[in-house]
C-alpha cells in the first residue's frame, strides 16, 4: 500500500543543486559542455566533471549530499522524487575519481539510492560513504551506517566506520577497516577543509567538539609554555634544575686537574 502510494506520487527528474563549486567544474548535458556555477540546478542525465584542484557538492532533492573530489566524473543517472521527499529513486554513476555521499534515510520499499561503478553497485539505506574508481578497480569505504556492495550475484555488506570493500581483478571482497586517521585523510582529499570542518563540528559525532578535541586540550595543557615534548625526558637532573634548563638535560663534571 505504502509502495503504491509512493509510486503514485513519484515525479520525474527533480534536479539536484550545486551548493558549492570550487575551481574548474563542468557539466555536460548531451553534447553541450558548460562551466558549473554555484547554485545551478542539474537535471537527470547530467554529467559533472571536476578538474585538478577542483571540487563540487551536490544537494539532491531528498536532502542527500554528494561531494565530488578533484578529477572526478559522475553521471546523475536517476533522480526521481516523490512525496515525502524521503521516497525516491536516486542513482549516480561514478565514471572516474572519488566521491563522498551522505544519504538521507529511505522511505518505502521501492525507494533506493545507488552508486554504480563500472564493476559494482552499492545500495545504501541512510549512511555516509566514499566511493572511488580508477584503473586498478573500485573501492567503497563506509563512514557510518550500513552499505551493500553488489557485483553480479555476489554481495558484501559493510557495517561500522571505516569498513571497506574492493572490486579488483579478483572480484568483490571485504577489505578490512580504515583507521579514523585514514578516514580523515579521505575526507580531506574528497571534500577538502569544509568536509573536515563539518565533521569536527557535528554535534552527533563522538569525535566532535565535546569529544576528542576537548580531551586533547585538557591532556596537553600541563607543561609550561616553553616545554616542547611531553615525556619523562623533560625531567632534568638537579644540576639542570638549579641552572634552569627547560627540557634539555645537561650533566656536568668537575675538573680533575
Amino acid at each position: 500500500m505504502l509502495s503504491l502510494l509512493f509510486i503514485a506520487n513519484l515525479t520525474l527528474a527533480a534536479p539536484a543543486t550545486a551548493i558549492s563549486v570550487i575551481g574548474n567544474v563542468e557539466v555536460e548535458t548531451g553534447t553541450a559542455k558548460t562551466a558549473l556555477l554555484p547554485f545551478a540546478t542539474l537535471a537527470e542525465g547530467a554529467q559533472i566533471v571536476t578538474h585538478e584542484d577542483s571540487r563540487t557538492s551536490l544537494r539532491l532533492q531528498s536532502g542527500s549530499l554528494v561531494r565530488l573530489g578533484p578529477q572526478t566524473r559522475v553521471v546523475l543517472t536517476q533522480l526521481e522524487h516523490g512525496t515525502p521527499a524521503a521516497a525516491r529513486k536516486e542513482k549516480l554513476k561514478l565514471v572516474a575519481g572519488k566521491i563522498w555521499a551522505h544519504v538521507m534515510s529511505l522511505f518505502g520499499q521501492e525507494s533506493h539510492f545507488e552508486i554504480e561503478t563500472a564493476s559494482a553497485v552499492a545500495g545504501v539505506r541512510g549512511t555516509a560513504l566514499w566511493a572511488q574508481t580508477d584503473a586498478q578497480g573500485d573501492r567503497f569505504v563506509l563512514e557510518n551506517g550500513a552499505l551493500f556492495v553488489r557485483q553480479g550475484d555476489h554481495s558484501v555488506q559493510l557495517e561500522g566506520p571505516g569498513a571497506s570493500a574492493i572490486i579488483g581483478k579478483e572480484g568483490l571482497m571485504f577489505d578490512g577497516y580504515f583507521s579514523p586517521y585514514a578516514l580523515d585523510g579521505l575526507r580531506a582529499e574528497v571534500g577538502g577543509p569544509a568536509a573536515q570542518l563539518l565533521f569536527r563540528t557535528d554535534p552527533r559525532n563522538a569525535l566532535g567538539l565535546a569529544g576528542e578535541a576537548g580531551r586533547q586540550r585538557f591532556r596537553g595543557d600541563i607543561n609550561s609554555p616553553d616545554v616542547i615534548t611531553d615525556t619523562p625526558l623533560d625531567i632534568a637532573n638537579p644540576a639542570d634544575e638549579v641552572r634552569g634548563l627547560s627540557y634539555v638535560t645537561v650533566r656536568v663534571t668537575l675538573p680533575t686537574h
Binding site: 521527499a85 569544509a194 638549579v242 634552569g244 656536568v252
Partner: protein, 427 residues
C-alpha cells in the same frame, strides 16, 4: 512539500575561503573555537553563500550557547540550500535549546513532512511532546587528573661523580612518577587553568647514590589565555620546589612567570614568549645564590598534514642577585659548573606525525649554547625520538634521547636515556 528551489545566485567561492576554512580546521583541532568562529565569519564576509562555512559557524555558535547567532546562520542556510535537512534538524534542536519549543515544533514538522522516519527528528519530537527540558549548560569547570608511570635507563645519571655527597653511579635504572591535577574554568573564550603536579624519580634497586641526584618536583601554577583581535595571548606562572632523594634534600625553589602571544598566518602559528625564572638554590655554599634568568623565544608551528613541524629559537640571560662573582663560583669545589652569569642561545626543531590511527611518532633536535661570565663556553646537543600510542583514556609511550655536551675537556659528556611508560587520564 518544501520546495528546494534556487533562491539566491552567488558568485563562485573566493579562493581565499578554502585557506580560511583550512585555518579554521586547524584552530578546531586545538579546540580553539573562538579563532575558528572568527575565521568563518571572515570567510562569510567574502563569500556569503558558503553553506559549509555557515553550517560550521552555526554549530560553533550553538556550542557556545549563542543561540540567536546560531539560529540566524541556520535560517540563512535554509534560504540558500532549502533541502539541507541536517540544517533543519539542527535549527529545531537549537530553537528548543533556546527555549522556543513552539517554533522548534514547527521546524520539526517541516522536517518530518520530508522524512517521516528520521530517527533524530522523531526523538526530538518525543522530547517536545512530553515537555522535556533541553540539557542544561555544561559546567564551565573541568577537572582532570593525569598519572604517568614510566621506567627507564639513564647511562649517565651522575651530577658530579667523585665529589663528596654527590658521588653517584654513572648509570641507573629509573622509575618515574608524574601525577598532575588540573582545574580549568572555560566559558569558551578565555580559559583559566590551575595546575598541581608532582614529578618524582627513584632508582631501581634502591641505589643511595642515584637517589641523591634523582629529582622530585612539586609544582603549582596557573595559565590564562585571551583573544585580542587576531592574536591569542596568554599568561603562565609556575612555582616549584625541587628535592632530591625523594623529599629528603631540599635543593631549590623557583618562580617562573611568562607571557606569550600567538597568531595564525596560513599554515604557520607564530608565537612569541618572554618570561623570567627566579631561583633560590639551597645547600650550596656560600649562600645566598639567588639568581634571575630572563628569556625570550620565538616559535613557529607549521602544520603540513599529517606532519607538525615546530621551530623554536630563543635565548636566556642569567644574572645572580647580588651574590658571588663568577670567579668565586667556578672555584667552588661543591659546584659542578657556574650556576649563573651566563648568556644562552637555543634552537630546537621538533617534528611529529600520526601515521596510523592514534599512533604518533616524534623527533626533537635541540642545541644550546652558553657563555659564562667566567669564560667557560658550553654547547649541548640533544636528539630525542619517541612514539605514543593513544587509546581512549590512556596512552603508551616510549622515548630515547642522546645528549652530547661539548665544553672544556673535563666537563664534556654524553648521555643516553631510554624510557617507556603508560599515561592515564581521568576527567
Amino acid at each position: 512539500m518544501i520546495p528546494c528551489s534556487l533562491l539566491v545566485i552567488i558568485l563562485a567561492a573566493a579562493p581565499d575561503s578554502q585557506s580560511a576554512l583550512e585555518q579554521a580546521n586547524q584552530a578546531l583541532m586545538q579546540d580553539d573555537q573562538s579563532t575558528a568562529s572568527r575565521l568563518l565569519e571572515r570567510t562569510l564576509a567574502d563569500d556569503p553563500g558558503n553553506a559549509d562555512a555557515l553550517l560550521a559557524l552555526a554549530r560553533l555558535k550553538s556550542n557556545q550557547r549563542h543561540f540567536g547567532d546560531a539560529i540566524a546562520a541556520l535560517q540563512k542556510i535554509l534560504t540558500l540550500d532549502a533541502c539541507n535537512d541536517d540544517a533543519r534538524y539542527e535549527l529545531a534542536l537549537t530553537q528548543w535549546r533556546a527555549g522556543d519549543s513552539a517554533t522548534a515544533q514547527q521546524t520539526l514538522n517541516m522536517l518530518l513532512e520530508r522524512h517521516p522516519q528520521n530517527i533524530p527528528a522523531l526523538t526530538l519530537r518525543e522530547d517536545l511532546a512530553v515537555g522535556r527540558l533541553p540539557p542544561p549548560a555544561p559546567s564551565p569547570w573541568h577537572p582532570m587528573v593525569r598519572a604517568d608511570l614510566s621506567v627507564g635507563y639513564d647511562s649517565n645519571i651522575a651530577l658530579d661523580p667523585g665529589t663528596g655527597a654527590l658521588t653517584s653511579r654513572t648509570n641507573a635504572g629509573v622509575l618515574g612518577l608524574d601525577l598532575a591535577g588540573t582545574l580549568t574554568y572555560n566559558t569558551g573564550d578565555a580559559p583559566l587553568t590551575l595546575i598541581a603536579r608532582l614529578v618524582s624519580e627513584k632508582p631501581i634497586g634502591g641505589s643511595t647514590d642515584a637517589a641523591q641526584v634523582l629529582p622530585t618536583v612539586v609544582e603549582v601554577g596557573g595559565m590564562y589565555s585571551q583573544h585580542l583581535g587576531a592574536w591569542l595571548a596568554g599568561f603562565d606562572a609556575r612555582y616549584q620546589e625541587l628535592f632530591t632523594d625523594t623529599f629528603n634534600d631540599h635543593r631549590q625553589r623557583e618562580l617562573a612567570p611568562s607571557v606569550w602571544a600567538a597568531i595564525q598566518l596560513g599554515p604557520h602559528r607564530v608565537r612569541g614568549l618572554v618570561g623570567a625564572e627566579l631561583r633560590q638554590p639551597y645547600d650550596l655554599q656560600p649562600e645566598p645564590r639567588d639568581n634571575l634568568t630572563g628569556k625570550a623565544f620565538l616559535r613557529d608551528e607549521m602544520v603540513f598534514r599529517p606532519v607538525l613541524v615546530l621551530i623554536d629559537l630563543g635565548g636566556r640571560l642569567n644574572r645572580g642577585v647580588g651574590t658571588e662573582p663568577p670567579a668565586v663560583q667556578s672555584s667552588d669545589p661543591l659546584l659542578a659548573t657556574p650556576l649563573y652569569g651566563f648568556v644562552e642561545g637555543d634552537v630546537d626543531l621538533y617534528v611529529k606525525t600520526r601515521f596510523w590511527q592514534d599512533f604518533a611518532l616524534f623527533a626533537l633536535a635541540a642545541g644550546q649554547f652558553r657563555h659564562f661570565d667566567g669564560g667557560l663556553k658550553e654547547s649541548t646537543y640533544q636528539g630525542q625520538a619517541g612514539l605514543q600510542w593513544t587509546f581512549h583514556d590512556f596512552e603508551l609511550h616510549a622515548e630515547y634521547a642522546y645528549s652530547r655536551n661539548l665544553s672544556d675537556a673535563a666537563r664534556s659528556y654524553q648521555r643516553h636515556q631510554v624510557f617507556g611508560g603508560v599515561r592515564v587520564w581521568y576527567q
